[in-house]
Symmetry: C2
Subunit: 171 residues, 2 copies
Amino acid sequence: MICTVRDSTPADCRDIMRLIVGLAEYEKMPGEVKLTHKELEADGFSSSPFFKCLVAEVPEELQSREGHTIVGYGFYFFTYSTWKGRVIYMEDLYVMPEFRGKGIGKALMCRIAQIGLARGCVRMQFTVLDWNKPSLDFYSDQGAVNLTAAEGWQLMRFEGEALEKLAQATN
Amino acid sequence: MICTVRDSTPADCRDIMRLIVGLAEYEKMPGEVKLTHKELEADGFSSSPFFKCLVAEVPEELQSREGHTIVGYGFYFFTYSTWKGRVIYMEDLYVMPEFRGKGIGKALMCRIAQIGLARGCVRMQFTVLDWNKPSLDFYSDQGAVNLTAAEGWQLMRFEGEALEKLAQATN
């Protein structure tokens, strides 16, 4: 393996933000990233963090064309199934284009699975866009099941005014 | 409102388990509930809980035919969006059939939205089965967006042998 996979530290936040934007561009929604460096640092590196983040780091001599050594990240947290118990949720998995095809994504994903099992999780979940066939194939090849296709689960969301209105509903 | 919505305590775990099974029956997957009372209590009521659970309680005089006063629950935890920040995730929302149509589900959902906003969440997410039109309509009427339909998000999962195998992949 050409990289090291390790837990991130606050000093990695600038690189993580760069990679978050890279993933949003790949997913064709670059304008959607409203998160700030300050929020990322406060929410992930306090005493009660909202998430955990792994980074994949290459040696200096293998740095990217722009001089980066942090070339991928895996972003996760713990959720829960009332049917099965503890679940590890992989929110993001991303490797810079010039470092793909070297097993870095697989190494990050593998580490998240290990962390989940060590914490007693019985499932690892995540979402993928339906047009992203390379990723769907990659995950399916590893044994992942598409629950939306198999069972019909739809992901739903309240945000903005709808969320505010819901919170203001009189009981 | 005929009920009180409050945080659950370990003493409510027996009722919560009964309602979890009730929801699984409604979702036509009753055999899927493997969670035990002991796991529910350990994972939800320790110093670092994996989830939070609200219960809806009616007065004794309005108890169910079988003598229950805990007639609904809302099960949630906090997740995170690398685009937008903090998210509150509603894993389950359920009201016993004989207590439906009285605003209890709405009251539970409203409280979860309030808790989310108070914690700085900008989104409230959840999943619904595609054949469950009454629920899809109920949530849409409140302003929820179906992200699977609108953007194509597919929910994916590793579990069992596939998860073990992923964790054992050599880097």
